[in-house]
């Protein structure tokens, strides 16, 4: 059984936002406009978090790309009253949009704030409507959504592999953000396979997880040379 995980090397990340843009385009994320965005209504499946440490003149600024952590023990799943969010046997945490009642308990329970709510009916500029991704369903107003590790790409890859009559190879399934990263700071693969890149990197000395002390066991691993 696969256990999908992501490794983000912060020492290589240049903060170019390519992952954020690739994610928005891949997953049909609605564009809410600058006004609503300033009010905190914009949706990010992948977000660049700014970390500021210290005080002037000794300020250190760091950027941290943050997708869904796909925790092994997700806080969001426990609190959902209708089972609209689940973790599958491959460790992916998903949302059933048509079952979600929009109570936003999961969004408040998630310690990483990765969950987004559709405050309005989704909208796109006229020019963009033709280029929506047909593999990803559109979320209507009033439901919660979040990063899926581009699960639709896995489904597609499985179909392709089946048609070609071979095993799934590491390069067959890669989320859009990882694919778009120009500095090669992001890796994706099977954490259960001890020889995969992500598996090897996750055991590196530089490796850490976000808010590790909460016991959520994220499957997104960061690499950094210390502070």
């Amino acid at each position: 059984m696969h256990k999908w995980g992501m490794v983000i090397d912060l020492d290589k990340c240049s903060g170019c936002l390519a992952c954020v843009v690739a994610c928005k385009a891949e997953n049909n994320i609605a564009l809410i406009g600058p006004g609503e965005s300033a009010k905190g209504r914009s949706i990010y499946w992948m977000k660049l978090l700014p970390y500021f440490e210290g005080e002037y003149p000794h300020v250190k600024a760091r950027l941290l790309p943050r997708p869904c952590m796909h925790c092994e023990h997700p806080a969001c799943i426990k609190v959902c009253p209708v089972g609209a969010t689940y973790i599958n046997e491959e460790g992916l945490v998903g949302v059933i949009y048509y079952r979600c009642i929009g109570c936003r308990y999961c969004t408040t329970a998630c310690p990483y704030n990765v969950r987004n709510f559709n405050w309005y009916e989704p909208q796109w500029p006229k020019e963009m409507k033709g280029s929506l991704n047909r593999d990803v369903s559109i979320r209507r107003k009033g439901v919660v959504e979040k990063c899926t590790f581009c699960h639709h790409r896995l489904i597609k890859a499985r179909d392709k592999v089946k048609a070609e009559g071979r095993e799934l190879l590491p390069d067959d399934y890669i989320p859009a953000c990882v694919q778009a990263c120009p500095s090669g700071a992001m890796f994706f693969g099977d954490l259960n396979d001890p020889f995969s890149t992500v598996s090897k990197l996750s055991r590196e000395r530089r490796a850490f997880r976000l808010l590790e002390d909460l016991g959520t066991e994220p499957k997104v691993i960061y690499l950094s040379e210390g502070v």
Partner: protein
Amino acid sequence: MEDIHLKLEVVDSTLQEDAILLEPIRRTGKAFYLTLFILVTVILWATFAYLFQYRNGLGVTGLARPIFWGVYITNFVFFIGISHAGTLISAILRLAKAEWRRSITRSAEVITVLVLFFGVGNILMDLGRPDRMLNILQYPRFQSPLLWDVSSITIYLTASSIYLYLPLIPDIAILRDYAGKWQWFYRIFALGWKGNKRQHHLLEKGIAFMAILVIPVAVSVHTVVSFVFAMTIQPMWHSAIFGPYFVAGAIFSGIAALIVAMNLIRKVYHLEDYLRPIHFNNLGILLLIMTLLWFYFTFTEYLTVFYGAEPLHMEIFWSKFTGRFAPYFWGMFLFCFVIPLPILSLKKTRTPLGTLIASLSVIIGMWLERYVIVVPTLTNPRLPNEAVLYFPTWVEWSILAGCISFFILLYMVFTKVFPIVSIWEVREGREKSMAEMRERIKTYLPGIGVE
């Protein structure tokens, strides 16, 4: 016309001094219709606000990321809290055989049953997809504290409705026999009450059973409401004190709501003889105890956080004490403690008017308390986030106003259909309790009554 006049005379001679209790049902003045008109206007406005939200999405509220919960959840906790007055107070006073309860239990029990709908209603209005609310029954997951809420509130609503209805039966029978209007309606709900010995025995057994049952249910309801917050690992929510803290707060705001309701009933229906200063004095003492208990819980909660001084918690702590939530926090402290404490401590000010002022203050304070619990924690999440300031919009304020108006309206209508002071219980008190009390006192005191 002649016929009705005849009936009124019959009523007056049968009920004698208690005839005034049927007065609100018999006659409805201009003031009632005027109030009704104002309330309906507010309710219609709130309905418009909700439809506006339903059409456009929750973006019309002040909510945003990361503050996903705001006034609706505050209202939910607040209204469920208010509901604790009735049933709990009435049940405890009944079980304690407090004789002064007789004229106040009904008005308390009605609050419970009616206000519960607004607690539930606020949760439903908070949903992004209210059209899918039945998913809670179709795909329930009992691991979620929200499901615990659904279960315990359903049981509570059922139990407190039965508990309200049982003592109503003899009074409905009185209405069936004397009221003149809607006899078919009263006949159905009187369940063939004749007032014989066997029926009285059964009724008393039923009431006693429900009074005992309703207490643990009421305690569980507000504990479970607090669990919605306490079961998450969010800072300053994840606390074991939340259960008892919420229950105490609920009883606190509930007694306050009861005192306000009693004050209104007393003035509007001229029931000064039934709701006397002694009732307000006694409830005032109860409210005073709850004021002190509220302070104790609040003090314990914040001291624990302050002493532990974890940076994550302290950020929220200071945002309440000196930061952007300071007006709400200190407002809460003022309304929940500083204003009611002196009023309720002095016997001179524990009058109907004094307790009314203290109670209004407590109600405002407790709403602020719920707000101060919900919003600051969400404003300060663990990871860096959008610096968003939540402030409710006109939609949320309108719906709050609508809920309060609707509650008052339902309460008013209730007083027009059923006697708001239990007629048979007051009568029973007058006829039987003196002798009973004498017997009971005999059993306590050494030297007398022991054969």
